[in-house]
Symmetry: C2
Subunit: 184 residues, 2 copies
């Protein structure tokens, strides 16, 4: 059985708009030696699986500044204080980023965004019967294009390295496992 670590010191190192950075000095339960850990705090994130009546996913292409590349992804974003739930975030981000609206949004999975160095959670929300109903509302830091992708092509796009955002791949595995449960 793994024992917990004891925190002996912690401090905030800086705030960087979408995340803040914190250090914690902790004592190892195994060696009794002190170690310093750096942890990134941010609000929770939500990724949306928007399924259309004819079994396409509403995907987006956008430029990503960490990788400096254009990535094929699904809609998603950060949980605002006003959202109240991952489902509310999903519905809002889907509408803002693609103009689509659907039915029966539900959380079908969740992970730690990166439990080694981050404290927040990423939720996967499935929205079915999605239809284009609104204009896209990009904020000034966004630039994105909608792509309708047949659901059956998703496994090949992940295996072939065409979908490369880790948290999008997570959401697509949650969706794949949800589909298997429906087929049982």
């Amino acid at each position: 059985m793994l024992k917990p670590w004891t925190t002996i010191n912690k401090k905030v190192l800086g705030n960087f708009r979408i995340f803040s950075l914190r250090s914690e000095e902790k004592i190892s339960p195994r060696t009794n030696l002190a170690h310093e850990f750096f942890i990134i705090d941010c609000v929770h994130w939500v990724n949306v699986i928007p399924l259309t009546p004819d079994n396409h996913l509403v995907m987006i292409e956008q430029f990503r500044h960490g990788s400096n590349t254009v990535e094929l992804e699904i809609p998603g974003g950060t949980m605002d204080a006003m959202d109240g739930s991952p489902v509310a975030t999903a519905v809002r981000e889907l509408k803002e980023e693609t103009g689509y609206e659907g039915e029966d949004p539900q959380v079908i999975g969740q992970v730690f965004s990166n439990p080694a160095i981050m404290s927040n959670t990423t939720y996967t929300v499935l929205v079915r019967n999605c239809r284009l109903r609104h204009e896209v509302q990009m904020d000034s830091g966004e630039d994105l294009v909608t792509r309708l992708v047949p659901m059956a092509e998703i496994p090949g796009l992940v295996a072939g390295g065409n979908i490369r955002h880790s948290l999008v791949v997570v959401a697509l595995f949650h969706f794949d496992l949800w589909l298997r449960r429906q087929a049982q």
Copy 2:
């Protein structure tokens, strides 16, 4: 077609042992407005799918300081300067963290660790015919336990929320897709 952003200013904000933090000021190709982005740089990461001759995965449990929880994961770690390749990192980390050694290591997938805010890549390396051959060599900041998990239980563990590290879930989807290709 999405256009690239123009960087007009960049600076390093700090080094925090396992990553460094950088800011970049860029001009949006859509709005011509300037935006500041914060980017986390670190070396590449490698996750290992260690398969035994009787179809178990060699998994580990370890305490994670971002989430402050014990997580069920697979072996993995950062690419050292000495490693030279993701496969070499996988073989080294598998041996150090579990004492297992196998055959025919191969990269079966890769993603950006988080292309929104990070610049590095995470590789998935499959190692087959893994057998226990060495003592575990934990460094003083590690504390982990080996668990042998039947391969057939993996989808249920991901769907049930028992495996919650995003990058481990990514690696397990890469493995699931690899298994499907073998079955074709």
